[in-house]
Amino acid sequence: MKKFVSLFLALALCCSVLAAMAEDITLKVWDGQDDQELLQELCEAFAAAHPENNYTFQYGVVGTADASARYLEDPAAAADVFVYPDDQLIRLAQADALYEVTRNHDAIVAANSQGSVNAATYQGTLLGYPMTADNGYFLFYDKSVLTEKDVETLDGILAAAEKAGKQFNFDVANGWYLASFFLGNGGIITLDENGNQICDFNNEKGVEAAKAVAAMCAHPAFLPGDQNILTGTIGDSVCAGVCGTWVADAIKERLGENYAAAKLPTFTVNGEQVQMGSFGGCKILGVNTQSAYPVEAMNLAEFLTSEESQLRRFAVRGYGPSNLNAAKSEAIASDPALSALAAQSDYAVTQLIIGDFWTPATAFGNALIADPAADVQPLLDQWVAQTIGQ
């Protein structure tokens, strides 16, 4: 009898050791629909690299744009590891959604670009793993119509386009693109130390920028409209436009050999050339504070944002890496869209917006399209008042 008991205990011990060795861990991961295939490939690679646990992955389809909204609807049902754009960081941080990055903190900070680390940091705490650094915009153009000299200035683009009977597309009715004029001319939109919105687009400098927007709107070669207009017309009636990497494939397909990209042009303020600014954003991988397996989730997040994973992501999806070593690789340096984005990144700022900036920006843009001669000061005042919430 004693023998049996000891045998049983020994067996039980073995079982528990085995169980401790290979724990069943289920992690839910969110990414956009078109990134699922790559996500699964990388997650399986992670499981293969960590045989000490039995990993099961659940893949949820939540695009970056919806991440914070889906998360906040039901944090407990949300993914353990999910992708979000840096402009949602504040909202998620305030909802206490994100685990602070504590494991390998210094290595992660050192490996990624300063801008992307800043974008993942809220009040001095790193709250996510930078994954891409390509959420910005730049100029696409048709080499057969515009020269490298033309695309240096907005005036040059518009003049050359008019001469060739073509048009230049810019989405004036979208605050994300529209802000490039204001940011370029020294405008500031950010948060103060108390987390309140600051925006000075209605000062003297802002009025100058707005007049430059109005002058562009009044130009016969200017064509307003969103990215669908650009991808539908470039190569035909349009010779250049401002958009981001997600339309690069479509534009490459339409322009073929004439495909080219550059940083944003300069525009004229009081007879002088001013470089257009822009918003530069990153996609960040966050770990849910409600995760049942935070350590494993962090390991996965780190794996998914490693140099190798970022290079693979570029190879498969064309996303620009935030990892410094990956960004230096030859494949990325020779990609026209990513080089243009890198050139523009010197003039890009992180998007720190919590106020109602977008809707009044659209109203402002549409007002200038309808009447470029409109008095911009009251329009700007209205925009800024709504943005800072007064």
Partner: protein, 284 residues
Amino acid sequence: MKHHVNKRKLRASIGLHTLLTILSILWMLPVFWLLISSFRKEPGAYTPYLWPKGFTLDNYVRLFTDTRLFNFPRWFMNTLFVAACSCLITTILTLMVAYVYSRLRFKSRQAIMNISLVLGMFPGFMSMIAIYHFMKAIGLDQTLLALILVYSGGAALNYYIAKGFFDTIPKSLDEAATLDGASKHTIFWKIILPNSKPIVVNTAINAFIAPWVDFIFVSVIMKDNYNNYTVAKGLYTMVDKANIYQYYTVFCAGSVVVAIPIVLLFIRLQKYYVAGVTGGAMKG
């Protein structure tokens, strides 16, 4: 004199028909545009010209075969399943409730009728977050069963058209049947229902269409469970900013395919449908 009147009538008729023609063209144009976009060869959401440069069946082929990113066949079957189930439950529930209000007399009848009417006026999505949490509490979140329950749960509140129709069926039929020994149950199935084909069809069509066009509830309940999406939610994922260029024409093809079962059902049952709406409207 008579000649003059005829001329005036003729002129009015021409004027009216011109107006109707213009209106119908305006109404048909988006549908027509959707149809030709679904056969368009060039990708992208926007083209600077109206008539496509090339036509292809590829969009439809891709819709059903390229399930790597968007599993349309699965979404279609999901929707069909949910629509069929909720159609069955809704129709039976609605008609039974209408029968009770029309034929039975009990103390709280008027009060319950009024309360149902008022409750039915609130849009269902007002309670969507609460519904999601109820579903989650009983472990039904992100399932098709939850959708069926949501689409058919409020059925009893939409009794009034069916009740109006039942009111037009002479009570003497019921009385005669009762004299012959029929129970209320028998009367409902054997006498009222065979006499109410139009309203049965009307209720069924409305219940069948709901899951095809609903976007709100399926978004709230399915969240990230991509395999259980219905067509409305699924098709919408095709047109986000990263996919719209490649998938816009496929999206159009999907929209056309979604319309097919509804249109077929409608054409087949049209004569009942019109009779059902007008029959019910005669008496409230």
